[in-house]
Amino acid sequence: MKLAVVVQRYGADINGGAELHARYVAEHLAKHHDVEVLTTCARDYVTWANEAPAGVEEIHGVRVRRFPVAHERDVRVFARRQEAVFDRAHSVGDELAWLDAEGPTSPALRRFIRDERGTFDVFIFFSYRYWHAFHGLRAVHDRSVLVPTAERDPAIGLSIFPPLFRAARAIMFNSFEERAMIRHVAGTADLPGKVVGIGSEIPERPNPDRFRQEFGITERFAVYVGRIDRNKGCGELFDHFGWYARSMPGDLHLVLVGKSILPIPDHPRIHHLGFLTDRQKFDAIAAADLLIMPSYYESLSMVALEAWALGRPVLANGRCDVLKGQAIRSNAGLYYESYAEFAEALYAIASSHSLKHALGQNGRAYFKRHYAWPVIERKYLETLDRIARDGVSGARTLDPLPGFFARRRGSVPPAADVLATVPAGPSLS
């Protein structure tokens, strides 16, 4: 089969969640099928500025075709349009304008998809909320697979997306919670697809001692890996850990790995190491007592899966349905919804070797059972085989966009209101 992986950004050094997810999927499917990546020239997900040259190149053995972005994102326009569709009654036209402002707007990419639709058997689109996925999938919905990477944010409540979910030949969900949410907004449980998630390139033997030597950290510590951002719950993490260090026994430290866009508190037990290579990152996780995942919104936390793969327990933010659901399903992590729970759960893991070990063992088994690459590949290959077997007869109906006048009718409810109707909580049944 000839497959196209369509994603907003692509590169060996681009480590955004969905982009890394797309790269891993492309590289692993390339072992079984002919894969080509269709992406933009953008490298920055805020501006979408054209930084990489348009054209074809090869990354890790996969052919990558880049298309220019027509216009960069104007942050002020985007914010205004986002407010209009998230918080106020609006029209479908407003939502399309919001999508255009969000980007990455690349008519050349859409034109290529439309013109070359016969060249590819299946198009795999990543990230439902971006311009390329919306317009690309609408162009080739009868041979499309969608990896939505949806989080519980108001964008899921926009009216332009449910037809997209219903039209895709298959949806590869990251979690049960994501599936429940998308089923709810799509208004149907009849969405073909699987809960797949993503694997990770876990090194055979990470070296915790090497990490301790390299960074001079001799104490026991909990690690956070990811962008250090208020939106990721890091502000709350700093507050909680500050109180924990003052009020709870023990000398647990907190090590932060990742680029910071939030001031790091000056605390003797909080260490910021900045961006680390993959090898250093895995060494750090292996050296840690546990991983803390304070994010409120995640469609799937790859770093939590990596911690589990290395046998480390995870302390997750319980207000994130996906993380809480994963912690419960795997029996490999605890969660918190308040400072008291944070302190007790952190202390329980840090002070009890048997609990830490048991959670770690469960995490390792959970990762192996659900997120090892052979499992992920098998799920993708089964889905692709089914699409090939069904042929055009398996195509689903795509609702057309409203007409000129209907598109301007301001009767669409605010996306935040729609999101509020989506059932919350982990999906355990």
């Binding site: 969660y335 008291a340 329980a348 048997s354 609990l355």
Partner: protein, 289 residues
Amino acid sequence: MTDFNVRSDSVDVEQIMRQIRERIRQKRGVDYTEEQIRELADAKLERFLDPSGVRSGLLEAFRRRPATPGYDFEDTALVDSDKAIVRFVRRLLSPFLKLLINSNRLISVLHMQAAINREQEERHVLYYEVIHNLVLEMTRVSIESRNLKMRLESLQGRLEFNERRARALEAVVQYKRGGHGPGEDEELASTEPQGGVDPITGGESLRTRRRRRRRGRRPQGQAEGSMAGDDASGDADGVENGRDESLQHEAGHAGSSERQTARDTHHQSAGTSSGHHEGGPDTPDPEAQ
């Protein structure tokens, strides 16, 4: 804090979280849910807050304020009517009206006023929310403060007890470290609790035991003579022995009570030292130190 001792196949994260929440409840004493806090904020503020400072019915009063009139004002409002014919005539004559007065200006101003009123209304809702949240937070803080006050009192009590105990212990340490030269006997007399009862243990003091050993080594007659001589010289031993007997009885009680609870130790050490006051002016009083 109890330790979790589990095997990987028996881990149930939900069960552990229930245990953790239970532990938090035990620590807090009372665990108020969000609903309970809201209920408290709505109905029982006077129990926690200064009623003169914040009215407990504040939110209720805010809620009960009269409904605001509709502020909608459209461009057609000036010529609108329930009756179609009137509406028609007004619309027909509206160009004539515009010749006489600048109705556009009027409409524009009224439109602006409607927008301002709407904004005010939205702001009222925000005020309501802010006040509501403030009252919630105040309730939460006052509960927290009450709990902390109780804890502080408890800590203060324990601290005072520990201080007294430390003073009493210091007295014993000085006694044990003391030399045996003649010049140091006075110092000993001033530091050792007389009457032979240890203020901490409630048992016999070293001095009492030493004196008894000395008596045991002497022959009976010598001992009596010595005692008589001692009596003649000042009757000190007789007084002390008599006191020893009575205090040993007390010390038995004191010792058993001491072993019962730490608080009792404090009580006994103070009580024992008050008994020693009769023995001499230099007898130390742990309370006084």
